[in-house]
Amino acid sequence: MKTTLTVNGRPHTLDLDPRVTLLDALRDHLHLTGSKKGCDHGQCGACTVLVDGRRINACLSLAVAHDGDDITTVEGLSEDGKSPLQTAFVRNDGMQCGYCTPGQLCSATAVLREVEAGWPSHVSETLEGPATLTRDELAERMSGNICRCSCYPGINAAILEIAEESTDYAEAAE
């Protein structure tokens, strides 16, 4: 089936078997191997990508069902791999083997937006908002990304650092 995916800003038209997942289309057909396959069943988050700005598990999605969609993978988060979030991961030792990192980065990018949009989480005291990114909030919101090396302290520190910076900017702008 002819399917057009816009990945990291570039349109690609592929001829795909309907069985091909979005993850396999990205990795095997477009050779964007940043997104990882951990479990292939929605249980680990290694395959997290952004579709129209929202995070999803690419392994539980058919590529043909994403015809026309705008997809961002870890390769598209920055030109040089040195976005503030990416550098914060390096600075805070947010990885060991690095297998879960692309998924963590995509997921964290979306978490920051979800918090900004005021989405509550399971641990939010109130549903009324506004949402603030405490350590507990972050752990809950990032629970869909498992790190087998258990680098959670570094991962959390990196994301909190970026969240604080953006709040500082927002406050300075007010």
């Binding site: 069985r19 292939d40 069943h41 988050g45 598990n57 999605s61 069902a65 752990a139 990032m142």
Partner: protein, 323 residues
């Protein structure tokens, strides 16, 4: 995964026609694709309904109409749901992960299949997967299994959190039938008990399409969803409770309670609710309510812990909500 034909439906009529001809409906795909990879489900045709425009939440008769493809994220974050139906927001937020909730839909969540490991393992017997094959769960390892509504053929749980909150809210499932007429079905008439055909989980007929869920006007009182699980997040419920409680002069005026993790479908017990009505809250009353709830429990070895867990969760929730 077995090969299949993929079709994207342009309107609900096309989806119904395809479904009537044997196609399996694909919404978010987070459950269907999981099961297709394992060949627990192996449809020859799949019809994608994700772009039918069923993704809106609109006001209806003082309540809300939720389109079938509204995502679990959008539903949980909707201001009207957060304000007037907080138990539903809470239940959704307690389920799955941020990534999954972005894909999971209202209709798909209602129809998600059980997480019984024997249903997932095609190397073992399962009446839900292959009718008449037997049930390896009964007499096997039990943990995320039901103690209410079971039969000698099946002890599989309905795993949804969302559906438990909807059960407490008296939500109605809106179904478009084969001929295009719409009907509304209460959740207790929607989910079947397993009996001797655990493979038939709902009263939907071939060609039926869920187009939405209707919530009646908001209820007065406090609302809460509590979920106990093996880890703090990203896990299915061992036991959960959706509670709506209204107090009047120190007495329980109304207590609406639905349970997850114990029943073969989202569970409600009118007899228990009647027992609580008009009473002053006390530990003895809550214990009696738990006894009533558990009066027909069929507890297979390995599931004894659920009796304690449900009793404690019910007491703790009611204690807090009747303060």
């Amino acid at each position: 995964m077995r090969p299949f034909d993929y079709q994207r439906a342009e309107d609900t009529a096309a989806a119904r026609t395809a479904s009537r001809a044997g196609a399996t409906i694909l919404a978010g795909g987070t459950n269907l694709l999981d099961l297709m990879k394992l060949e627990v489900m192996a449809p020859e045709r799949v019809v994608d309904i994700s772009r039918l425009g069923l993704n809106r939440i609109t006001e209806k008769d003082g309540g809300l109409h939720i389109g079938a493809t509204v995502t679990n994220s959008d539903l949980a974050a909707d201001m009207r749901i957060r304000r007037d139906y907080p138990v539903l927001s809470r239940a959704l937020l307690a389920g799955a992960s941020g990534q999954l909730r972005n894909k999971a839909t209202t209709g798909g969540n209602l129809l998600q299949r059980t997480r019984c490991p024997y249903f997932y393992d095609t190397g073992t017997a399962c009446n839900k997967r292959t009718p008449g094959e037997g049930c390896a769960a009964i007499g096997g390892e039990l943990r995320n299994h039901a103690i209410l509504g079971t039969s000698e053929h099946c002890v599989a749980l309905h795993p949804s959190d969302m559906a438990v909150a909807m059960r407490a809210l008296d939500a109605m499932v809106e179904v478009e039938g084969e001929d295009g007429t719409r009907r509304e079905v209460a959740l207790d008439d929607f989910y079947r008990l397993p009996g001797d055909r655990p493979d038939i989980e709902t009263t939907l007929a071939p060609g039926d399409l869920i187009t939405g869920v209707t919530l009646p006007a908001p209820l007065e009182g406090r609302q809460q969803y509590r979920k106990v699980r093996d880890r703090a997040s990203y896990a299915f419920a061992l036991v959960s409770i959706a509670a709506i409680v209204r107090m009047e002069d120190g007495r329980i005026a109304d207590a609406t309670l639905a349970f997850g993790g114990i029943g073969t479908r989202p569970w409600r017990d009118p007899e228990m609710e009647t027992l609580l009505k008009g009473e002053r809250p006390s530990a003895a009353l809550f214990a009696k309510a738990a006894d009533v709830l558990m009066r027909h429990a069929a507890v297979h070895p390995g599931l004894e812990f659920k009796l304690t867990l449900v009793t404690r969760l019910l007491s703790a929730t009611l204690e807090e909500m009747t303060e």
